[in-house]
Symmetry: C2
Subunit: 247 residues, 2 copies
DNA sequence: ACGCACGGCCTTACGTCGTAAACCGGCAAT
DNA sequence: ATTGCCGGTTTACGACGTAAGGCCGTGCGT
């Protein structure tokens, strides 16, 4: 009675099938993303993912071309999402390019916050082309970006430079934030005790005796103002681009 | 005669032995870094590294506490290097904090450029403490940072914020640059042809027909002005911090 | 001088990973 | 009924990280 539960509805593989959604690239990728969100990147294994989908690992290979391709699929899927929900108003002349960039930045930030364990992948994986810079690694998104800026007075050169600056900005802030959030899912991380007990292990490690400033500022350093700082830095970047535009 | 070649020089394992430098954590880590530079992160395997050192894989475990620890060691080593060659002049009141930040930024950039394949590790690995943000993930470096800024008129709060802004800046620009440089060592990457030929596979892929801007700007997008852009963005950041300081 | 503990490296072994290749049941069209 | 494909399974291989124990030369204690 293990996997026979959904057998009787096979009278015809109709669309009304609700029991077993049937394997597909999309479903695999979606499940993989959810899985990584819940567990971790290194936990994402073909066999585990198979189990998650109620299927043997090798079945996945009919839809994804190996693990590497799966990861790429996840990245593409997530970034493409950005383009899909582009409010076309934003691309018009109505709201300025700044509104568009604000929207885009917040969108990418949402990605990073919703999937902190996946984001390093977006940030790190080598793009298909050298002009597809993380995290804006979708042709659609980049095209939107360039279109919007150019239609708002940027010349080619400045649009490209803006693209680069914007990419760097997002990457830096959001990868940091994501790394912070997806705290390694560390279950316990044994201190590994390295030895006996007589010698108090003289190296510096995590006692802050020799680092007075860090020690004093420890709490401040640990505070999380990610949202505000992101917003502020984004403002500054936009100002910079604006100045850049009218120079 | 396979591994006996270097047997006869074992008359005594004296210090004067120049043939086989003898295993040590330092040597292992150094070799690992060099190895990753030459090959890639995923190619760095305990067995491969052993081979590189003329030793069995398991021998490494006497000095590094597993692969994860090895990677951490590599990161630490590289970042610590920054602190070691800190010109103490820079920390004095003589040159301003801006000179220090310029120096530090260029130092980290050198790291990224010298070891583009390792840099993602520095950027991505979870720091030991939440206030050790990549890529400035060394207590020494952070302490230097805070000391310098505070001794130049920053109050605690602003110094901390500067630290965060600076980290994000470096991470974004340099991870991007490193990713670009360490071009995945991709040997060929078969186009994998995905199926028949009748349906032209309606997705966009890499023909730029539907992306006029990208197509037109392709060359500009591919141009590499990393150095200049980095310098410029750094200038702007310093200005921003300066304004921030006297507000 | 001799023995012996010990540090440093090797051998063996286990479980898990990605994935190539062959296989197999059932549906559709012939 | 036959055939062939489609979607999934089985089996198998080599490489990985690493636990556990073996082995051998060196240097110290006596």
């Amino acid at each position: 009675m293990d996997s026979k539960a959904e057998r009787d509805l096979t009278s015809s593989t109709r669309a009304t099938d609700s029991a077993r959604p049937a394997l597909s690239r999309d479903r695999i990728i979606a499940t993989a993303i959810a899985f990584v969100d819940r567990r971790s990147l290194t936990a994402l294994t073909m066999r585990q993912l198979g189990k998650e989908l109620g299927v043997e690992a090798m079945s996945l290979y009919r839809y994804v071309n190996g693990r590497e391709d799966l990861l790429e699929g996840m990245v593409d899927r997530m970034v493409e999402e950005l383009h899909l929900r582009t409010d076309s108003e934003l691309l018009d002349d109505n709201s300025g390019w700044q509104a568009y960039l604000q929207w885009l930045a917040q969108g990418v930030r949402s990605l990073a916050r919703d999937h902190p364990k996946v984001f390093p992948l977006i940030a790190t994986k080598h793009p298909a082309a050298p002009w597809l810079r993380p995290p804006l690694r979708s042709l659609h998104v980049v095209e939107d970006f360039l279109t919007t800026l150019i239609s708002h007075g940027f010349d080619d050169n400045r649009a490209v430079q803006a693209y680069r600056a914007f990419s760097s900005f997002l990457l830096g802030h959001l990868l940091l934030e994501a790394t912070l959030l997806g705290a390694e899912t560390g279950p316990a991380e044994e201190p590994l005790d390295e030895g006996g007990s007589d010698v108090p292990n003289a190296d510096q490690d995590l006692d802050l005796a020799n680092f007075p400033h860090i020690q004093r500022l420890e709490t401040q350093l640990s505070e999380d103002h990610a949202a505000a700082e992101f917003a502020q830095a984004l403002e500054d970047l936009l100002d910079r681009l604006d100045r850049f535009l009218t120079e």
